[in-house]
Symmetry: C2
Subunit: 433 residues, 2 copies
């Protein structure tokens, strides 16, 4: 009998990060980093792990959204799914009734991400490869088959995508070796959370440089004078050679972003991240025109490939910050990498959260080996918390992500972590309440 997907399990896992003010920013003062954690099992004993990241309340809605998609998946023959992962993704994101909740955005789309990522994880485990290598060893035709071009063709055709991938093909083997030797550059947001004292900011900034990072990031946007002070302190701490990015987490309107950044400009911020609403393509374009040479970056809240397409078409961003579980997982992110390559915009993924570093490194590494073919100006965000809950946690060495070699996408959590942090009945929550 053919192997089928037999179960799709969704669990509500929450970490009480708000107790420490890790992760605090202008829009997220007290996040509890959480996951709608998904385990897919097959009749043949296969397993895949994925998750949708949230910041606490509402994670139960995310879990409900995964459960709403599950009946579309259970019972499918695994070979059919793996032979047409593009079609599988469209099945999840195109259901004629469920798409009303999006379409292609919000909780229902992140639910698709969790499931799609779990299937990629399962696929990679079967093949005995990390997902970055699984992708980087697929043919250009196989990769292009993953992409839903319906709404992209005015910016990227199938033929153009094939051309991009074929151009990168001859260098794949060499770049794969380089990646395994050197890793992929990381940057750190650890020093810059809004909840930290000036002393902690200064100390952690210096520590980041000592640890080998060439780029650190500070949260801004809540208090103009404090931002100027904090950026000055960080600049004094790291010196002129280290890049400092700033991240407003959507705090500003368009004109406000421009005037605020004028005051930060003397301290040479490298990029401004999420200066305004993530939906405001034209607003980002206006900000970018006004604040150059400060670069404009966004993406962690960018809902889908149609929005990324427009950010690129409008010349609204210098840096595309892909997220592993905001859009519909690995499959849609392949399309987004191709769009970025077409427009020559570097992808510097969003990470942090819980499990995001583990997953998104695969996409950046695939991009380097087989899509953009470049590491120039590329960095992956790194935040050093919650990795202990993962079976295959990221490894950072000298400011670089070490390329993972174990099979899968990296989202699998330890059973003890799941048991401890399950909401609301895990002991980490019952004992706190």
């Amino acid at each position: 009998m053919a192997e089928v997907i037999s179960t799709v399990e969704a669990m509500d896992i929450r970490f009480p990060t708000s107790r420490e003010l890790d992760g605090s920013d202008a829009m997220n003062p007290e996040p509890d980093y959480s996951a709608a954690y998904v385990v897919i099992r097959t009749s043949g004993g296969g397993e895949g792990y994925g998750l949708a990241f949230t910041v606490g309340r509402g994670n139960e809605v995310q879990v409900a959204a995964v459960r709403a998609l599950a009946p579309l998946v259970v019972g499918l023959p695994l070979e059919d799914v793996l032979a047409d992962l593009g079609g599988f993704s469209r099945r999840l994101t195109g259901d004629s009734q469920l798409r009303w909740l999006g379409p292609h955005k919000g909780a229902i789309h992140m639910a698709a991400a969790a499931i799609v990522n779990a299937v990629w994880d399962l696929y990679a485990r079967r093949e005995g490869k990390p997902v970055w290598r699984l992708l980087a060893e697929m043919s250009p035709e196989q990769l292009v088959d993953l992409v839903d071009f319906r709404y992209l063709q005015d910016a990227l055709t199938r033929e153009e995508a094939l051309e991009i991938l074929r151009r990168a093909e001859p260098g794949r083997a060499q770049r794969q070796r380089q990646l395994l030797e050197r890793g992929f550059p990381a940057y750190t947001t650890t020093p810059g959370w809004l909840g930290y004292t000036d002393e902690k900011l200064t100390r952690l900034s210096k520590q980041a440089v000592a640890d080998g990072f060439n780029l650190i990031k500070l949260k801004v946007g809540a208090d103009r004078e404090a931002d100027v002070r904090r950026l000055r302190l960080a600049r004094d701490a790291v010196g002129p050679e280290i890049r400092i990015a700033v991240d407003a987490n959507q705090a500003w309107g368009v004109d406000q972003a421009i005037s605020w950044l004028e005051q930060l400009a003397p301290y040479d911020p490298y990029w401004i991240e999420e200066p305004t609403s993530p939906d405001d393509v034209l607003g980002h374009a206006a900000i970018r025109r006004a604040v150059a040479p400060i670069k404009v970056a966004t993406g962690e809240h960018c809902q889908n490939q149609v929005m990324f397409k427009q950010l690129l078409q409008a010349g609204a961003i210098d840096i595309l910050q892909m997220d592993a579980s905001r859009v519909a997982g690995v499959t849609e992110n392949v399309a987004i990498l191709l769009l970025a390559a077409k427009f020559g915009v570097p992808v510097c993924p969003h990470a942090g959260g819980v499990g995001l570093c583990e997953m998104v490194q695969h996409l950046a590494m695939f991009d380097y080996v087989a899509v953009s073919g470049s590491i120039d100006g590329r960095v992956i965000e790194y935040v050093d918390h919650l990795h202990q809950h993962f079976v295959d946690p990221v490894v950072i060495r000298g400011g670089y992500y070490v390329a993972p070699t174990r099979p899968g996408l990296g989202a699998r959590m330890h059973a003890r972590s799941i048991a401890a942090y399950r909401y609301p009945d895990g002991p980490q929550w019952t004992s706190a309440i």
Copy 2:
């Protein structure tokens, strides 16, 4: 003791419309029109009714999203809520954890719509007015206080919004009288569902004209030849003077939309609705440039005011199709009406579904009386099903919506309908399964 909001109840109500193929279109072949139905009660005996519309599966996710927002509402003093409805809306859409599921989009934003609308209903019942009149009798300052200008100011300032409202103030009384006498023009989608036979299309098109409608709408986008045939049949049935709008429900890419419309052009379609992804501002702008004089219309899936702002800034639409429960309810729709007035684009609301006609008529009527001040080129969609489930159903006379005079927003359902169609335990579902 001060009156407080004591309960927020959310119910899963589904109507098995797919059994009849009412409501079938290119992206929604078999919708079961549904509602996450919300009842808000106060300690003083006040009641308010609202809903978020969905098309079947996933309505339980929508209900879960309402329940996630409920704790932000229960216990609030009613006077505080009604004195600052702008702040109340921001409380729901800006929660630092729940906003991750959007922000300002998808299931969590529609949940805010259902609650915000229920509170407006409650408010209007207390004042003994229909919502359109409640709004139309508020001062320009009160109305502008409803608006969250953070992400709008580059297109519409508070001062400009005040100016728009003040300009319309002198004519309010006269237009209110005219509205009560004549009603508001409607158009009908009843003839044009994809699931209907040619004979039914022709018969219902003629019937629509006989009923007084000057605009009918046909669904298109699934089959090019069939669309040409159906549009020709409808044109033959209604003659050259009646406007025929066509609605692709997002079926096309940008270039495909343009070429498809070339073939429909000989039959003089009045507007093309949702030609492509609702997220594609730049795509709509490109289509509009190519297909003029066919007008471009969208909005029923437009997620929030930031997207409407851009559609207007980019010159992407001729007609703005506001929806009552996609954006965050009456409050955000006031902002959208002001944006439309600023850019001189007529608002022709999306309706149909279940309860949408009942609610959205209030916004169009308020717009006429107190914002745009014009009825020129304005029509409200009308579909003649499911109205029997509402305590105050819309009344259509000679192709016009009769202005409602009973207090509230119109979303209150009959208790017998709720009992019968509750999912999955109502008898309409248990007996069908």
